[in-house]
Symmetry: C2
Subunit: 215 residues, 2 copies
């Protein structure tokens, strides 16, 4: 079964000067299970060049490679799949274009969107945002772990949680039912990208072990 434990989304803008390819390389070294290439500003040609390079890196490492939004670039670069937001092409229209076994993930912010995504044939759900920055300063983010549990009760495809996820709430996310954690800043924005990925991966593994023991 496909493991989505640590799902790292590349974002050059949130990194400390790293390219998509360099973010991917360091995240893979830290144990990322999935790399998603996301860039809303590059031309198709530039994005395609990044995708081809990350495909090579991920293939060597046995890591899943997903392209955000651009189904054509995902297919052309031989990525494992595409991630579609609620503003992207609907999964029902995307599926017939994709080769057999191609992974299509869909963003969902509510139970209704998650159910719809599963009905439409999504292979996994990117559920979130889970955590929101609270109004009180220094109070830290407010997280809705109940949404994870609610969605997990009703859908059978993997649920990857996203939005304010990091080491501080990794355990609660897994306990609430998340199959994997999608992160950007918790890994990409850190000085030591590889170290941040390693730490988070260890927390996820430990939380999953505890869950098995606790039944």
């Amino acid at each position: 079964m496909t493991a989505y434990d640590l799902y790292v989304i590349t974002d050059e803008g949130l990194s400390k000067g790293l390219t998509h390819v360099e973010i991917a390389r360091r995240a893979i070294a830290g144990g990322a299970d999935v790399i998603q290439l996301r860039d809303k500003s590059m031309s198709g040609e530039e994005l395609m060049e990044c995708a081809v390079q990350i495909r090579t890196l991920t293939k060597e490492a046995g890591v899943l490679f997903i392209v955000n939004d651009r189904l054509d670039i995902a297919i052309a670069s031989k990525a494992d799949g595409v991630h579609l937001g609620q503003e992207d092409i609907p999964v029902k229209l995307a599926r017939p274009l994709a080769p057999p076994g191609f992974i299509i993930g869909v963003s969902a912010g509510t139970l209704e969107e998650a159910l719809q995504a599963e009905r439409d044939g999504a292979d996994y759900i990117g559920l979130g945002p889970i955590c929101h920055t609270g109004s009180k300063k220094d109070a830290g983010p407010v997280c809705g772990f109940g949404l994870i549990t609610g969605v997990k009760k009703h859908v059978s495809i993997p649920v990857i949680v996203i939005g304010g996820i990091g080491p501080d709430n990794a355990k609660e996310s897994i306990s609430a039912g998340a199959d994997g954690l999608a992160v950007i800043s918790a890994v990409v924005s850190q000085d030591d990208v590889t170290g941040a990925a390693k730490h988070l991966k260890a927390l996820i593994k430990e939380a999953k072990r505890q869950k098995v023991y606790e039944g």
Copy 2:
């Protein structure tokens, strides 16, 4: 053989408040042979919705429908083809994803780019910009019709000219060898889109007739 005589590119920004769909409808009524949907700011979902509507209109009218840049949306909307700029996915990578008979047009600004596009398997070339606004005010645009003749000598796929093309230089473009004229503002920005398309179509037809007579 596919006719590319009058190739109208939708551009909401250059229109007087018309949507892509309304531009397409009016251009078709004026005799457009090809409609290209071009929008660099819409989400995939919005673009897909436009594409599906324009596919219906063009199919009813027997008009070719081409989507700019987004191969995935072109295929998913059952468009006849995609137009790829020099900054988009290379045609060599796009071709294997496309269904049989799918048209792939490629932008070229020079003879070298045109030759490369043909070698890479393009079905037509969008050659331009042909005309540039001159430095002298009121002098009108300066057009390089020699480029058209040069490219036509060396490539065998259709050459559609673009960039400052309109009623003032339609005849010279056809005489120089253009197989079709791609226009935006000469049609889309006019008060009477249908009338502007009709006028331009008549000029193209007349220029092609004269060319045949003149040998």
